[in-house]
């Protein structure tokens, strides 16, 4: 059975997306501000309704080991291109550094071992892909809140941006790398972790080694993989397409609680 994966979407679908977008520019059908506003209405309603619903910051359901799915399909990039990532891979990420910068008092540059020495959280949760499938896996990592407290977030910071090592589209200005962003409501949630372990082992390359985001109350594409830089910011407009993520820049909703 051939299911359309996000990867094949990039390969085959980007042509379709490109024609769609250029088609819009020509007949200004989908570009019409009013139509866009109606479509954004759904996202806005979901964001506000779900934030109200989640105001007590409940945890998502955690499962027992026995309830885990026998397998966990990787999605999106399964191995980043480029020599830099390849070097990390063969050296087992020994020279890897995670940068935490932007609107923080104390910018950080951490090795994987330093991150693993921080307080950790393990959780067995369900991964919800926006294509419809779901899988249950065990994730081990450092709570993002701890990392941000260590770096001392500035009061004006509102968003946390995750810069990734996988280049999805080659562009002259390097804006084709995967990236994602969440706001502090999700960043400070106890189950929002930077995972370095999966199912009791080191995080596999296909699942985003050495570090991936788990932001459990949102769907798959928000869970950025291959993270090497975390940026605190007060706005998203200065990064790549300005909509807060690689897929968001290509028409996907920034808030993806459904």
């Amino acid at each position: 059975m051939s299911l359309i994966t996000r990867r094949s979407l990039i390969a085959g679908g980007s042509a379709a997306t490109a024609t769609l977008v250029s088609g819009c520019d020509q007949n200004s059908f989908l570009n019409m501000q009013s139509l866009r506003r109606i479509l954004d209405f759904g996202q806005l309603m979901s964001l506000h309704a779900q934030r109200l619903l989640l105001s007590g910051q409940p945890l998502v359901r955690e499962y027992a080991e026995a309830e885990m799915s026998p397998d966990f399909p990787p999605n999106g990039t399964e191995r980043p291109n480029g020599i830099a990532y390849f070097r990390h891979m063969i050296s087992n990420f020994a020279d890897f550094r995670l940068t935490v910068d932007g609107m923080v008092q104390k910018p950080l540059s951490l090795t994987l071992d330093e991150i693993k020495a921080m307080p950790s959280r393990a959780q067995i949760t369900m991964h919800n892909c926006d294509e419809g499938w779901s899988a249950i896996g065990k994730w081990t990592g450092v709570p993002l809140a701890h990392l941000l407290q260590t770096a001392e977030l500035m009061p004006q910071a509102r968003y946390i941006v995750f810069h990734c090592m996988d280049e999805m589209v080659r562009t002259p200005d390097n804006s084709g790398f995967y990236y994602e962003s969440i706001d502090l409501f999700d960043a400070m949630h106890p189950q929002t972790i930077l995972a370095y372990g999966m199912n009791g082992k080191a995080l596999p390359v296909a699942h985003g080694a050495p570090l991936r985001l788990r932001v459990e109350r949102q769907v798959g594409y928000k869970h950025a993989k291959y993270i090497n830089r975390i940026e605190a910011t007060d706005r998203l407009s200065h990064i790549a397409g300005g909509r807060g993520g690689f897929w968001e820049d290509r028409g996907y909703q920034w808030y993806a609680g459904l």
């Binding site: 059975m1 051939s2 299911l3 359309i4 979407l9 679908g13 379709a16 997306t17 769609l20 989908l30 109606i38 479509l39 954004d40 209405f41 759904g42 996202q43 309603m45 979901s46 779900q50 619903l53 989640l54 007590g56 409940p58 945890l59 998502v60 359901r61 499962y63 309830e67 799915s69 026998p70 397998d71 399909p73 369900m126 919800n128 892909c129 926006d130 294509e131 419809g132 499938w133 779901s134 899988a135 249950i136 459990e216 109350r217 949102q218 769907v219 897929w247 290509r250 028409g251 996907y252 909703q253 609680g257 459904l258």
Partner: protein, 291 residues
């Protein structure tokens, strides 16, 4: 609006002895007509965007997890015939394979070229996953808001009590059987019987309004990791996230079935009269036979 809200045309017959004339009653209030048509538009948007979403992962599972590799009880796939290299549409139901080329899995475009995809292109929303999600969720919110207006109206005006709820007499087996017999003969209701919904009609509307549509909303919400964080009991009600997705799909099919029967009934029982009544509110009651 059988009883109190009925208006009769000024030139309606004053005496029963006079030759029967067409009586026009005021059947549907503005609120019912407006919410009906808004709902119709929303359901079309939800269906075509929902099928577009389904095509991204055309397989259904029970339980919490489900992905390519986990046994599904329903799936649609495009395979390739190794002898001819021709694509073949295969629909699998509970382990039984059916070749559905031309209908599901593989369909043909206007040039006669095969196109892989669970549901055919002409039936689904054009564009990709992002647009389908936008349309589906915006339409879902409109469905809920429109539905709330309808529910509040129905409760406070007595629409549900007077027009939708079947009476004890109507639910009596003999009455039900008679009504089923009338439906099978495609007999149009006349006279007093035409002034209100018949019992099968009432039951169909009650099931759609109070069972199927709420189940659609709740199973949809069960697929949201944000909603289930606040309301984990949704998993327990529907048996897990994939079960909810499956029920969402099955109930959507029931709604499509309802709409198809509804449209056939509208045509069979006098399309012009029915359409007029749902647009202007005015409905002509056929006189009793033999009068």
């Amino acid at each position: 609006m059988a009883s109190s809200e009925t208006t009769v045309e000024p030139n309606a017959p004053a005496q029963q002895a006079v030759a029967p004339q067409r009586e026009v009653m005021y059947r549907h209030t503005v609120a019912v007509r407006l919410t009906h048509w808004i709902n119709a538009l929303i359901l079309v948007l939800l269906l075509i965007s929902g099928l577009r979403l389904f095509n991204y992962h055309p397989a259904l599972y029970w339980g919490d997890y489900g992905y390519s590799g986990v046994p599904s009880f329903f799936s649609i796939a495009a395979l390739e015939d190794i002898d001819t290299d021709e694509p073949v549409g295969v629909t699998t139901v509970m382990g039984h394979n059916f070749i559905t080329t031309g209908v599901l899995g593989v369909t043909y475009d206007l040039q006669g070229e095969p196109v892989a995809g669970a549901f055919p292109k002409w039936l689904i929303l054009p564009g990709g996953l992002a647009l389908a999600r936008d349309v589906h969720f915006a339409a879902a919110w409109l469905l809920v808001l429109n539905g709330l207006v309808y529910l509040l109206f129905g409760l406070f005006t007595g629409h549900f009590r007077h027009n939708l709820m079947p009476s004890g007499v109507e639910l009596h087996p003999r009455h039900m059987l008679a009504d089923i017999w009338n439906h099978l003969r495609l007999r149009r209701p006349r006279g007093a019987a035409a002034r209100h919904y018949n019992v099968l009609q009432k039951l169909a509307y009650v099931i759609v309004v109070f069972v199927l549509l709420p189940v659609m909303v709740l199973t949809g919400l069960t697929m949201s990791p944000a909603v289930t964080a606040a309301m984990p009991f949704l998993f327990d009600i529907f048996g897990g996230r994939q079960s909810a997705r499956t029920l969402h799909f099955l109930v959507a099919n029931l709604l499509v079935l309802f709409v198809l029967i509804h449209i056939v009934q509208v045509i069979v029982t006098g399309m012009f009269n029915n359409m007029r009544s749902m647009i202007t509110g005015r409905y002509a009651v056929l006189p009793e036979e033999g009068k």
